[in-house]
Amino acid sequence: MYRSQRLALKYFAAAVVLFGVMTLFGLSSAFYFVHPTFLLNTFNFNTSKILHINTLVLWLLMGFFGSVYWFLPGETGREVEGIGAAEVLFWVFCVVIAVVAAVFIVVQYGPGTEFTLWFINQGRKYVEAPRWAAIAIVVVALVFAYNVIASTVKSRNYSGILMVLILDLIPLCVLYLDAFPRITNMSKDLFWWWWLVHLWVEATWEILIGCIMAWALMDLLGSSRRVVESWLYVEVALVLGTGILGLGHHYFWIGTPRYWLGVGGFFSALEPLPLLGMVIHAIYDAGVNHMQASNRPAFYWMLAEAFGNFIGAGVFGFMMTLPQINLYSHGTQWTASHGHFAFWGAYACGVITVIYLAVQKTRGCSRLDGRAWKWSFALLNLGMLGMVGALLVAGIDQAFFERALGGSTWSAFVALQHQPWYTEGMWARFLFGLVFTAGFAVLAYDLITLGRIRGVEEAEPVKAAAA
């Protein structure tokens, strides 16, 4: 095993830990909605929320880094260039995260000075990490980019996947620089903020996970490079073709010109089309392999990714993306519902797929199956479906009563808290959050013990042999 792959395993372990932290703070954040005075003035909602969404970004990012470190040596046929620096920076990354989390938990907020932004909290949603930590993240990302680029150049293997990945790393690093400025004008602040949030998540991350899934497909199903690369290019063309100007659906109501209503609505209405193609592709692969693979958990998580992405981003997104609807749905629990489902489908399932692939290789299992992964798969997906369903009901109720009828005032907001659909939706979300947490616990147990303590062949033997 390459050093790079051992580093990947560390990244995966850290990602799973942060996934757990995210889940716990998600659960606590959900509880505030049903019990608003919970820990009031001691540990306020915003701190819980900050920890929830920042660990979300970080565990996925660590999952992506781990995945690339995992597949890169196989792709280039050599050890990753500058692996020593990468190993050191992994620990730096972990320490930075721990310190930032400790400051968030203990200090929480500071006086209205630049000092606060540098050392405590930047207070822009998703960009709460203080500037010193943001600098550290930039350094980690730059070394990561160096690893990929230098290894590619040294190996002289300019494969399509590597070239797409390298080109994608440039905007990935550049866009993150938006984590530093403080802009007084909220319209401008949010304009650039969406470059970071949308273009990271709906463009560069999509490409990054596309490259990772391309490797995963070759690894798991033995798909040929030519097919996978063609598919990757199609995906890049469609995702960036619709996603770059899909940015416009965030520019409806922040002070930006009217034409964004047309541009944003048009391109985000196109976004579900390529997602349907991905569903077809997933079923094709599933059929060709007779729903069997040497690594069943990875295979099922890969399928879950295609379906989750279609429903979460496609269906839930289209429901609320046209400006006439979005005028009311914008900034309600409806958005939260869409956000949860889309993140889950597009990224979380993909990272879990790769982690299972790595577990199989590391523990030397020719075949990976069992009972635990099925439980975690079912509980996590059921929990997620329940949460987004509950949030959807609550969100539609909110858009209806608070926004469309109530005119978005504070009184309308207060009145909403007594709407039965809303309050029951919030309770249901919390309860399904518990189901999700149980699913995470089983997932963690499975990943830790699989092939170590428990056998891997406890399930029935393979039924279908290839033709």
Partner: protein, 191 residues
């Protein structure tokens, strides 16, 4: 067939990405003019010296924010420079207390607490406190929040000077034009 050649799709990927990026850059240049301070949608910071309204405009078929005659904040007339400094301070305070991780601004944020886009004009304040007195009332609330309905805002220990800067920020923000968001503002205030 050419569609089976990866090179075809590579060309499609590169060209669609470049084309869309170019369009985005052009739109960005134009948008930045509109949303700069003093642009057609975003007022200068000294708008805090004036009365602000947000009402339905039949000609534009949407709610429009307008700045009217003089209506001083905290009984002071701020120069443009002073207003800019005060609002900038307000933004700093808003970031330092992570307001956006409970509230929303122009609908962006955490959906846990009310949207603040038109907070300055909200009937909960405007009906009881006419313009000149409203600043002090909201300042007092931000410093020592009291229960409004089901929700309570935590006490984030703002100094008076910090709270006033936040209120100035809210007043300035309420004058930004946002294509009619939120719609029907105050339509059913006593529901």
């Amino acid at each position: 067939m050419y569609t089976r050649d990866p090179a075809f799709w590579r060309a499609a990927a590169v060209s669609s990405t470049l084309f869309m990026s170019a369009v985005l850059v052009i739109l960005t240049v134009n948008t930045l003019q509109t949303i700069s301070i003093g642009g057609s949608n975003v007022p200068t910071y000294d708008v805090i010296n004036r009365q602000i309204t947000y009402a339905y405009d039949p000609a534009q078929h949407e709610y429009v924010a307008r700045a009217g005659g003089e209506e001083l904040l905290f009984g002071r007339r701020y120069t443009e420079k002073e207003a800019t400094a005060l609002v900038a301070r307000g933004k700093l305070v808003i970031q330092s207390r992570a307001c956006m991780d409970c509230h929303t601004f122009f609908g962006n944020g955490a959906y846990y607490a009310p949207d603040l886009t038109r907070a300055w004009l909200d009937p909960i304040w405007a009906s009881e406190y006419p313009g000149p007195k409203r600043g002090a009332a909201i300042t007092a609330f931000v410093m020592h929040p009291f229960r409004i309905g089901f929700h309570v805002m935590p006490n984030l220990h703002l100094s008076k000077e910090e709270a006033q800067a936040v209120v100035a920020y809210l007043k300035w923000m309420s004058a930004v034009n946002t294509n009619g968001f939120p719609d029907g503002f105050g339509r059913a205030q006593s529901r």
